[in-house]
């Protein structure tokens, strides 16, 4: 197996892991400060609505991002981790993944819009799963870019 651009792959790997850890919020470390003032919440303040009733809770504290956002970040992290294995089975062609990515993005918008208009009621898990699909398909775009099997 040949590895191309290992520094870039490793850097993104570390950054996305840090992002997931921060997004999980102060509950992971059982921080004593009230969650609105925790640095994790401040960090994601302008990136996510952070509504506690639309977020997963850990140790009595909501995560620093909503369930859809944590799905996106963890899905991207998972997809990125699986890149070496996925490049082995050559599951993809870029054109297909692009289409899948656009379809999943549309699903996310439709889901949010339908919920907002009262057409249906989505749940923490449905939002997390849709977000996770978006994040992982974004990572899958890079299959074959970093790992190459002869």
């Amino acid at each position: 197996m040949q590895i191309r651009q290992p520094i870039l792959y490793g850097l993104v790997f570390i950054l996305v892991l840090i992002l997931v850890l921060v997004a999980i919020g102060g509950g992971l470390f059982n921080q004593s400060a009230r969650w609105p003032v925790q640095w994790q919440h401040q960090a994601f303040n302008s990136l996510c609505h952070q509504m506690a009733n639309r977020s997963f809770w850990i140790n009595g504290q909501p995560m620093a991002v909503c369930s859809r956002c944590i799905g996106v970040y963890s899905g991207f992290a998972l997809g990125w981790m699986l890149l070496p294995m996925l490049s082995l089975i050559r599951i993809t062609r870029l054109a297909h993944i692009k289409k899948v990515l656009v379809v999943i993005l549309l699903f996310n918008f439709i889901d949010a819009a339908g919920n907002l208009l009262g057409l249906w009621q989505n749940t923490l898990f449905s939002r997390a799963i849709l977000g996770g699909m978006l994040g992982s398909s974004a990572a899958l775009i890079f299959v074959g870019d970093f790992f190459h099997h002869n």
Binding site: L8, C48, N53, I141
Partner: protein
Amino acid sequence: MDEVTEQQAEQNNQPSYWTSVGIAGVIFGIIVFALSLVTSYAMINSEPSGSLFSPVQLLGIFVCLVGAFGGMLATWHYANEYNISIKLGKGALIGLFTGICITVVYIVFNQIWQFIDPDMTQKAIDSVIANFEASDLPDAQKQQMIDSTVQSMRGQNSIGTQLLYNLPMYGILNVFTGMIGAKVFGKQEG
């Protein structure tokens, strides 16, 4: 050796990406600022419901992660303008600079708005307090929530705090979208 020199020459001949970075940074900086403004005024003008999270915050559902797409716009513009392939590392770099640009534009507009409406933060804080006061929470918990939320809202106003949190967050997220943009919009080699 010749191959390396050729690659370096090719790199040097690549057009500058700063225009694309600037355009995407300004556009997304304004979008992020405008959305934060809309959310703030919607909160100020809403009646206290007693609910911890008002319906106006539902607007936020659509704006999650919007500031992360600047890197994608920058790489799209760069690839479209010059019809070239973009290496992933370069896409990441374009994304990083776009994220920095978004943060700077957002902070500048925020500071300008402090002169236009100096009372905005105080009005938002009053609105949050009124909302907590109307809630069914026990008094001690209510007071704790008010204190921590007010402390958090005041802290978000300083340039230092905004730089400290927004620079790395927008930088990292736009690195990812810059790479995705390079992959999706860059002309495919071979």
